[in-house]
């Protein structure tokens, strides 16, 4: 290797196909990564600050605005937190509808990421438009799948982007059985389409790259986790949601306007589809498990590039779960339970498409929010992304800058990072000199 190649810097000012604005800076010395930074340069968005002073019932609609593609995760976590303050337990059809609208969000987010944003990486296309020229049916089916997710959001949540029908205690209005059953045929098609899409992405060529992650996800006694459960990890963590900050810590780093999360005394951890899959494989439906066995991607899966396949399993799960809910749905007498505020602190967590989304709020006796803290998934994964790059780049340090950049962007897109909601994220700068 020449001296010039032993030492170089690669800088990507704006990374394509990630949400928000950020940069990636890599410094390589003698084939080793001496510095890696995911630089976030979106301005702070102050959501936590301006939640203070608002009514506790306003949090779901305000926090939904943090993200355009996973608003349900923010609404869910804030609703859970508020209901936990007053000790409310929501069951029956309302709980089922909450799972249903969450499934809609998973479908639209996972399919968009798999087919439109990540698949071009593996197939060598600049973007989905170029890919669509050679694979029009893949893109058409993906768009139809995504539309079905959007429709679930609309039927249950009131509209497909930033739904407005969720509230503390339930919904403002619940759908009729007829409205839900109208989606049955589409969902039956969606199950088959998600199997086909998953099989397709499983044939991609995956880099030989595995790491020993601490995976963190929710776990529920009987369900694949969406809204409820404890927080568990493959390194022995098993805690109630309210203990989040006893075990996790956020720190400010100079190069990012977002906070970096880590497990106390251990370090980086990995949230998202791969974590859920590895920790909750037994909670998937039989068809999902059979598909995983057939494809040969089963726990423990520690190759982050295979997250695209796992998103496929979760898309199938969301379609099957939606069908189950729709077929067994009984219209509730009232769309919500009236709840009165009382002073206290509550905690909520749900599984956003890209990982756990934790919220905690304090309110006073009048229901006025006095404190709010939100840990979005991308912030929790940010340190893991940096560590992935530090481990991944030395194996490919001989690649020319453009090819190395491509690989690095692909490695980051494994996480489907969202700078807007973490206030976090990407340009690439590799320093080899």
């Amino acid at each position: 290797m020449s001296n010039a190649k032993k030492s170089r810097t690669i800088k990507v000012d704006y990374m394509a196909r990630v949400e928000g604005e950020g940069a990636l800076f890599l410094k390589i010395r003698d084939g080793k990564v001496s510095d890696v930074k995911l630089k976030i340069f979106e301005p702070p968005r102050f959501f936590e600050a301006f939640l203070r002073g608002r009514k506790w019932t306003e949090a779901p609609d305000i926090t939904a605005r943090i993200c355009g593609i996973c608003p349900i995760a923010y609404q869910s976590s804030s609703i859970s937190a508020m209901e936990s303050i007053v000790g409310a337990k929501i069951d029956g059809p309302i709980r089922e509808l909450r799972r249903l609208v969450y499934c809609g969000e998973w479908i639209e987010s996972h399919v968009l990421h798999m087919a439109m944003l990540h698949a071009p990486d593996f197939l060598g296309y600049e973007d989905a438009i170029q890919m669509a020229k050679d694979h029009p049916d893949v893109v058409k089916n993906a768009l139809r799948l995504k539309k079905i997710g959007n429709e679930l959001m609309t039927v249950v949540g009131g509209r497909e982007i930033h739904p407005i029908n969720l509230r503390v205690g339930g919904f403002y209005r619940t759908p009729t059985k007829k409205q839900l059953l109208a989606m049955r045929d589409d969902l039956l098609w969606a199950c088959d389409a998600s199997v086909a899409l998953t099989k397709l992405v499983s044939t991609f060529e995956f880099p030989d790259f595995e790491r020993d992650y601490e995976f963190v996800a929710m776990r529920h006694p009987g369900e694949y986790p969406l809204w409820e459960g404890r927080l568990v990890s493959n390194r022995g963590l098993d805690i109630p949601i309210e203990d989040f900050f006893k075990h996790f810590e956020e720190e400010h780093v100079k190069h990012s306007t977002s906070l970096h999360s880590f497990v106390k005394l251990r370090g980086a951890y990995h949230v998202g589809p791969l974590a859920r899959f590895n920790l909750n494989f037994d909670r998937l439906t039989p068809r999902c498990r059979e598909l995983a066995q057939e494809i040969g991607v089963t726990p423990p899966c520690t190759n982050p590039f295979k997250s695209i396949v796992v998103r496929g399993f979760e898309t199938l799960y969301a379609c099957e779960e939606s069908l189950r809910i729709i077929e067994s749905y009984e219209e509730p007498e009232k769309p919500f339970i009236e709840l009165a505020p009382r002073a206290g602190r509550g905690h909520g967590c749900s599984e956003a498409p890209r990982g756990i989304c934790y919220h905690t709020y304090a309110i006073d006796d009048n229901g006025v929010i006095t404190d709010a803290r939100i840990a979005p998934p991308t912030a929790q994964n940010q340190r893991t992304m940096e560590e992935d790059l530090a481990a991944f780049v030395p194996r490919h340090a001989d690649l020319p800058d453009d090819k190395l950049t491509w690989r690095c962007e692909q490695a980051v897109r494994n996480y489907d990072p969202c700078i807007s909601c973490s206030c976090h994220f990407l340009r690439l700068h590799v320093d080899r000199d």
Binding site: G68, I69, L117, I129, P136, L143, K147
Partner: protein, 173 residues
């Protein structure tokens, strides 16, 4: 009505966010067209989310799509494209993990043969897209120019004349 007496389906799509300064350009044009009660025109506001945008224009044979742009040009500059004939310039593209935008949805629809027969795109260069901001004077003037332009085209089509002139790029000073 068209030459053959059939009802021509014309659709005006105003893309943008009314609460973010110059990003309200699209919805403001939609408001203008709505207030002029033009014949045979359906008008919708839209967030610009690409996948649903591709669905929205399925109902139109002639579609007028108006969006704000942030491409480095002069505030108030109007870019007009006959998108059914040619691709949009690269500077109007922006991908993310969360969505693809207007330009990407147009080009993806072109590849998938899902473009309407005529898609006239008007991009109005904005300056201030801050939350809660007000529309700049230059963009406000451009909104009126684009509204008049669309009205003329709509009336031309409604009266059966070949009013769909060649697309051009105008600058509103």
């Amino acid at each position: 009505m068209g030459n053959n007496g059939e009802q021509l389906r014309m659709l005006v799509i105003g893309v943008g966010n009314r609460l973010r300064g110059d990003d309200a350009a699209g919805p403001r044009v939609a408001d203008n067209i709505r207030s002029r009660a033009l014949p045979g025109v359906h008008i919708i506001d839209h967030s610009g989310e690409g996948a649903s945008l591709m669905e929205a224009w399925q109902s139109g044979e002639t579609v007028f799509l108006v969006d704000a742009a942030d491409s480095g040009g002069e505030s108030g500059q109007i870019y007009e494209f006959a998108a059914h004939e040619r691709s949009l310039p690269a500077r109007f593209f922006r991908y993310s993990t969360h969505a693809f935008s207007v330009a990407e949805s147009i080009e993806l629809a072109r590849v998938l043969d899902r473009l309407p027969a005529r898609l006239h795109v008007y991009a109005i260069e904005g300056r201030d897209f801050g939350a809660g901001g007000t529309m700049s004077t230059e963009v406000s003037r451009a909104v009126e120019v684009v509204s008049d332009r669309i009205e003329a085209l709509v009336l031309g089509i409604a009266h059966g004349s070949n009013a769909e002139s060649d697309p051009c790029t105008n600058s509103v000073s």
